[in-house]
Symmetry: C2
Subunit: 310 residues, 2 copies
């Protein structure tokens, strides 16, 4: 976090105030990044929760008053809604505004949003690599982005000063910032996020559908490893449906690699190839160590769930 | 935990003093379950660590003095070594002793150990569903088994009083205890533990071998989900090799189901079947809730890794 505390923006508009949108509001407040935070949500319950929590200065169920005069507009709904939101708010955007988002797929966001961006509005797609399995405005907190990476995927002729301003914004929200090509982003996230979610959802589904093992047994004995997967498989269903529908090509490519490797592990088990198994299991241990050293996970056993008292 | 504090056993012998063996020693000490704890390990470094930590009364690099006069003997090495250990220690076992283990597969343990068990020694296989990704005597702690399940898989004509004694032992180590048929145990663990470990090892291997995404990118952006898998994939390589070599049939069966389901998810992504995806993603969320309600995981977001300060 920078120690600079001048507000970067007059008004910031958050379209979507769930886990990410509300966390962004808290992080902006913490760092004093906007003089006014406006939040938009279509559902009355969401707006009511947000009103009680108090993280926004104004709350709206229509787009025009949310984005009017905003210097920063951030799309933070499930990404399947971005195109329609962009189309509907375009006439109300202020000249010189930065339009960004937090979607987990970047090629599809560019495809859906770019056609509606008016001249003079600076569209800079972004993706903070942060989240929890919870959703909704109650799930948000200011520290969500601390120490995590935020990837910006500006288009080739993006407005350089706006890109730098958005970089500074995310840094002051606590993040490290990296610039990347959108297509490459989608490939990287397919392996670091999308396929992991897919196989977590999948194994939880498989376990629930067995006839030979009861659901109650799966739950009781989940501490053997399964429970870790259920956390990821508890993530927001609509958000993740939209991710898979919109990063199809990269997900299928990475899934193909995963399947190839799994077939060869399956074969090693069938034929009793202990050396092949030991080899892989030894290599993977080192990667965990690198992730802890890079500050992207804590080193305590079991994610600190079981804390030795010694 | 029971409030009863009479020692259950005079001497208890732990063959293997890694994460599980050392944790068992601490848990026994905490509850006063044995008058004397003897530890065995073949490697001098392991013995030296254990000596410094002080969780055992005596430490040995040979079997005979470890198990001599022991009322409880627990096999706690990787399970590929159990057969040879059983053969070698059999002549030194005390009549009336309970011989148990902590192996993650039960049919193979019975196959390997039962033939060597002398008349008058009560062989009762057991499996505490607890652990962390760390290994070695330094990784152990008394609370490891608290609130977790321990499954006993006694043979059909097992000595009932000894089974009850072992049940009481594990309860006083902090666990819930369940009795189960060994074959069924192996099927349950295949889906709740073994296949989850296999796919975690697999995706970490896949990610490390890509040419299009660098290892450094995988590490930096791992907070999108991948990092969760690396914890499991950092588990002890030898232990897990032995699990897969010894629970082949059940693992391949469950892996077959996993693969079938994954193919159908893959197809849904390819053809844009959002309804099918949303359906699964909604069902899996409920299972997470049941696991938390059953006390088998904590409910804090991100396993409590990111703790909101509000």
């Amino acid at each position: 976090m920078s120690s600079d505390s001048r507000p970067l923006f007059g008004k910031a508009a958050l379209l979507g105030i769930g886990l990410i949108g509300s966390s962004l509001a808290y992080a902006m407040r913490r760092a004093g990044l906007a003089a006014h935070i406006a939040g938009f949500a279509p559902r009355a319950e969401t707006l009511e929760s947000a009103r009680k929590l108090g993280f926004a200065d104004t709350l709206h169920d229509t787009l025009a008053p949310t984005v009017r005069d905003a210097d920063l507009v951030v799309l933070a709904t499930p990404l399947g809604a971005f195109g329609e939101l962009a189309r509907a708010m375009a006439p109300h955007l202020k000249a010189g505004a930065i339009l960004s988002d937090v979607g987990s797929v970047k090629m599809a966001v560019i495809r859906d949003v770019a056609p509606f961006v008016p001249d003079g509005v600076h569209f800079i797609p972004a993706h903070p690599i942060a989240g929890t399995e919870q959703s909704g405005p109650e799930a948000g907190f200011a520290e969500l982005f601390d120490g995590r990476w935020c990837i910006l995927t500006p288009l080739p002729h993006a407005h350089v000063k706006s890109v730098e301003k958005l970089r500074s914004f995310w840094q002051r929200c606590g993040s490290h910032v990296e610039l990347m090509d959108a297509k490459h982003h989608d490939l990287v996230l397919a392996i670091t996020s999308h396929v992991p979610h897919l196989i977590a959802y999948n194994i939880v589904g498989t376990a629930a559908d067995l006839e030979t093992v009861t659901q109650s047994e799966v739950i009781k004995y989940s501490a053997g490893g399964f429970r870790d997967f259920t956390r990821i498989a508890a993530s927001d269903p609509v958000m993740w449906r939209d991710v898979f529908l919109n990063n199809r090509e990269a997900v299928l490519e990475m899934l193909g690699r995963f399947n190839e490797d799994l077939s060869s592990l399956q074969r090693a088990i069938r034929w009793g190839d202990g050396e092949m198994l030991l080899n892989l299991f030894t290599r993977t241990r080192a990667i965990r160590r690198s992730i802890i050293d890079a500050g992207q996970d804590i080193g305590e056993p079991n994610f600190g769930r079981s804390r030795p008292k010694r």
